[in-house]
Amino acid sequence: MVVVQFGKGVVTLVTFEGLRLEEGMPIYLQIIRYLERGIAAGTVRDGDELPSRRVLSARLGVNPNTIQKAFRALEEAGVITSRAGAKSEVSLTPERAAAIRRRLLEEEAAALVGALRQMGLDREQAAALVLQLWDKQEESP
């Protein structure tokens, strides 16, 4: 991420460098998810700037309408604010960031739980598997 120093404080630009587009999920949703994951991880903070629609469109190789769709959805959710002629900014309160983080964690966990159940594990087996893999990753990250 590029760190730009303004008059007061330091503002970070969310570059979307790490976003790799996948098949199967609408692109605008992937953009939203990328930003939300950044928020959940704490790497995207209140006041961070988003690139302009045109730049993001060129970076991702994606039609500007798609970028517009993503930005509009984020604006409606109150996650970003846009002003005419200026870059959009992330707009987070600690509560909202925490809520997003909680929601994403639940979604990820729910997906895992669903997969394990589909493969026939019961509650204790699932918990044991998760703990085992957790310990393994702790030893060799």
Partner: protein
């Protein structure tokens, strides 16, 4: 708006290249034009440019297309409409003289991006470089509607991917692109609308937004619109199998 109104074109009486096609393209759209060879894609574009005689009309903001407004259309074709005996520098002069809207900075930026030699005659370029010059000229003319007919035949994939990105960064909001191509997967995120031609008629017309809502990929859309028989290959192989021992 660029409008094709009931355009009908037949070659030698029998072959109907376009059968009463009506299509409307507005400013800012990036339209992918798809279809099998002979479906009418090239004919559609050439009729708009007045390069072919046809029945029906093609209008630009309600006006027929004449020398008065033709500068608002530009054309990049795999047949190459540049002057082989001129250098890119000479092309730049030619375009400056003939097109008041010529975008000189964009021309220089694209020449730079493609690393094309400014002072070599175009006929000495590789096929890939020729395509790049062709596309550069069409984009730099200052047209509102940029028609491209298979402009990347012969360019490698890295070239093309970079080019789509560059284009997205360069284009003004009111510039329109109509791109006829076989490269479905590559362009599906780049375009905002897909128009499908089949034997001279429009078999499908959808925005990529709608496709996204439906969770349908461009390839699926094309296959279903053309009633693509996916089992043809297997059927043929089975047929061959029957006649053989192993």
């Amino acid at each position: 708006m660029l409008n094709w109104n009931n355009v009908y074109k037949s070659y030698w009486g029998a072959n109907r290249a376009l059968d009463s096609v009506s299509l409307s393209v507005g400013p800012g759209e990036i339209v992918g034009l798809f279809g099998a060879n002979g479906a009418g894609k090239t004919t559609l574009l050439k009729c708009a440019l007045g390069l072919l005689r046809y029945t029906g009309s093609v209008t630009l903001d309600g006006e027929p297309i004449t020398h008065r407004n033709i500068a608002r259309l530009s054309f990049a074709t795999c047949e190459h409409s540049f002057f082989p005996a001129l250098t890119p520098a000479a092309h730049r002069e030619f375009y400056k003289e003939h097109f008041p809207t010529f975008r000189e900075k964009r021309f220089d930026a694209l020449m730079d991006f493609f690393a094309l030699p400014l002072h070599r005659r175009a006929r000495g370029f590789s096929t890939g470089q020729k395509n790049q010059l062709e596309v550069t000229l069409a984009l730099s003319q200052g047209a509102d509607y940029i028609l491209m007919d298979e402009p990347f035949a012969g360019n490698d994939v890295f070239n093309r991917e970079d080019f789509y990105r560059l284009l997205l960064g360069l284009l003004e909001p009111e510039e329109t692109i109509i791109l006829s191509t076989h490269l479905l997967e590559e362009v599906q995120h780049f375009i905002s609308r897909a128009v499908l031609l089949d034997r001279g008629t429009i078999a499908g017309d959808v925005t990529t937004g709608e496709l996204e809502e439906r969770g349908e990929s461009l390839m699926d859309f094309v296959k279903s619109s053309l009633h693509y028989r996916g089992d043809r290959v297997l059927k043929t192989l089975e047929g061959l199998d029957d006649g053989e021992e192993e």
